[in-house]
């Protein structure tokens, strides 16, 4: 097996080199992600669709590209990704009602395309509207199926650890 013969030939400098290589990959990925956060103005520029409430437009596993420019006002008909206080999971639904005051303060009501009723039942008890601060971003780009990997890793956490472990092992051990 190649892997073990490689391992025996490694000396200290090569180990350091491999670890640094690994760190470079991780930090480049992080830089790209943070760079996208700044460029789009959204705290989560890419989201995976988690539920079927926007079918047939979006299915579970589809990927959405978000922007959240403050200067671009929210308008009815837009697909917004927002968070409800106390819950981690972002919701991807459409704005069906919007009221904006003269000073720019805006409140809106959302509904999933595939749902019969609007989202008031989903909001926090006592909350009637979604506000600008709850919005993570507005969906601007779409690519199908790519996010299935994330959903699989979430549903089967052992798979996530196995994949990450194997990847890490291969990067550290192989010299190329």
């Amino acid at each position: 097996m190649d892997i073990f013969s490689d391992l025996r030939r490694l000396n200290k400098r090569q180990v350091y080199f491999q670890v640094l290589n690994f760190a470079m990959i991780i930090s480049s990925a992080l830089m790209i992600w943070k760079g996208m956060m700044v460029a789009t103005g959204s705290e989560s520029p890419i989201v995976v669709v988690l539920s079927g409430s926007m079918e047939p437009a979006f299915y579970r596993g589809d990927l959405l590209f978000l922007t959240n420019y403050r200067a671009d006002p929210v308008r009815a008909g837009e697909i917004v990704v927002f968070k409800i206080e106390g819950r981690d999971i972002p919701i991807v639904h459409r704005v069906i009602k919007l009221h904006e005051k003269a000073d720019g303060k805006v409140k809106f009501l959302t509904k999933g395309d595939n749902n019969e009723v609007d989202d008031r039942g989903l909001y926090k008890p006592g909350q009637l509207w979604v506000e600008r601060d709850h919005v993570v971003g507005r969906a601007r780009g779409f690519i199908p199926y790519v996010g299935i990997v994330t959903i699989l890793m979430n549903d089967y956490p052992k798979l996530k650890y196995a994949v990450l472990g194997l990847l890490g092992l291969f990067v550290l051990i192989h010299r190329e």
Partner: protein, 177 residues
């Protein structure tokens, strides 16, 4: 390239790059097209009432609109447009809110389904509650918009041509619709 693993790896990497290229080509070839269409909107009947809005608890103005809609979306569909989400929107101003936008009706047309829209004397699908009681005597700007859902690419929101202005009645109505 003489082990199964190496071959599988190469195959996988190649199919991944080809799929990415196809998705990008889908996006490039259809992103800059003109998706606008002329739409015919007509309002047949409008009634305003005042009642307590569910969940909210306050008495708000409720508008009830019956409309007619004609449009042909055949030129809008292409290999990258998998769904058209149409929404009829009413826009107006009140002393309380500078901008109000309410979606009255929406409809989904998938690629392959009949792209001609011929709606006659349809009631609004969603409750048209104002955030207050300012509908009487107000002016509505009613327009049809659509959201292009691509197979891969940008999610365009296109305003349709042919929006109309509707003068709302000065007083509450009592007729049943």
């Amino acid at each position: 390239m003489n082990t199964i693993l190496a071959r599988l790896n190469a195959l996988f990497a190649f199919s991944l790059s080809v799929t990415a290229a196809v998705a990008f080509a889908c996006f490039l070839t259809t992103n800059f097209l003109d998706y606008s269409q002329k739409v015919d909107i007509d309002v047949n009947k409008v009634v305003i009432k005042n009642m307590e809005e569910f969940y909210v608890g306050d008495r708000h103005d409720l508008g009830h609109i019956i409309f007619t809609l004609k449009a042909n979306f055949t030129p809008v569909f292409n290999w990258n447009c998998k769904e058209l989400f149409l929404y009829l929107m009413a826009e107006y101003e009140t002393p309380q809110n500078k901008l109000n936008q309410v979606v009255l009706w929406d409809h989904i047309i998938n690629r392959g389904e009949n792209p001609v829209v011929n709606i006659r004397k349809r009631s609004n699908k969603y409750y048209f509650f104002d955030d207050g009681a300012f509908l009487r005597g107000n002016k509505l700007q009613i327009s049809l918009h659509w959201n292009i859902i691509p197979n891969a690419g940008y999610l365009w929101r296109v305003p349709g041509g042919g929006s109309i202005t509707l003068d709302l009645p000065e007083s509450y109505g009592t007729s049943r619709i």
